[in-house]
Symmetry: C2
Subunit: 186 residues, 2 copies
Amino acid sequence: MEQLIEYILQFSNLNTQQIELISKNSVETELHKDEYFAEAGKRFDYYAFILEGVFRICYYNRKGEEITKYFIEENHFIANPYRAEPFTEYIQAATDSKLIIFSQQQWKELSNTILDWDTITNKIFHTALMKKVDRMSSLVSEDATTRYLMFLEKFPTLVNRIPLSYIASYLGVTQSSLSRIRKNIH
Amino acid sequence: MEQLIEYILQFSNLNTQQIELISKNSVETELHKDEYFAEAGKRFDYYAFILEGVFRICYYNRKGEEITKYFIEENHFIANPYRAEPFTEYIQAATDSKLIIFSQQQWKELSNTILDWDTITNKIFHTALMKKVDRMSSLVSEDATTRYLMFLEKFPTLVNRIPLSYIASYLGVTQSSLSRIRKNIH
DNA sequence: AAAAACATTTGCCATTTGGCAAAAAGCAAC
DNA sequence: GTTGCTTTTTGCCAAATGGCAAATGTTTTT
């Protein structure tokens, strides 16, 4: 829990009372590798903070290939604020993971009780989204080797924690190609 | 101006007084094709609404190639809220354009006077960002032809309004390749 | 330790895309 | 219409990536 508080404190101050409130309105959970935290078609209205582990957001394209859209690492939120339409993606634990989860109600409770809660969390979510956009944009318009090197820069801790296939489907190359690319780098 | 109001009304109600306030705190401008609305390194703290025209956001990669990161069409906002770091991209008019511009001060004025202004605009910006992410994610992991077809779907009005080179640099292919792709489609 | 299940690498060849330069087409000014 | 300028298309060949299947390596189960 301190981990989450510390994270939020980067964006704004919190008093003891508020911290306790956050703690009371959340639950800690674990998820095993490969388990889904959210599934396409099902309802998803949780807010979660990753204490430990890596998640990936993925979906299936027209050809039925599994596409990894993004990775989310520890110390980041998983959420879908302003969602209107039904969820069309999967959120899967890429490693064993620990989460702090807020239900919709609990989140609303915090929103109603902590004065700046919405402002703070909006800022957090918006910042994260912008980072995401930045990372994604470098994936187009570079060759596969460069993309892989960029991936290594952006997610330096991930390489040895998740399967090659996830990385390949994130970079938009086949597993074999990525394997060859790796060989040429070292 | 009605165009902007109509747009905002999709997200929330406004009374006559508020509409007038928005009108008073903004200026209408025109930009010619190829002119820059924002440049890397320079300060950019305007909020703008596109009445007419298409803009592209671009930057230069390590090899000096010009990369088109995104297109913004009429009836969308151009803004960089929550910006902390200096701006590293260019925003260029891809066609002759008309804008409604708010300065930082004017925006703040609206934020202070219109109760829900921040909530509304946060929602607008966030929604736009999410769309952007969605569009971008389909650009990785599909072959060039599919990417072009997707571009046509997502930006159906753009094909004949902007040069091929912009589209190519958005799709991450060379001009020649895109030209060949076009030939094969028709 | 052996077997089974899964993940990664490799070989072979087909396909796609890039690089470069020339040709063709489109557009604006005169 | 002609001239210059820019954009788009094309040809030729090289390089990058994909597809498939077999081989190798790793992990898990028994």
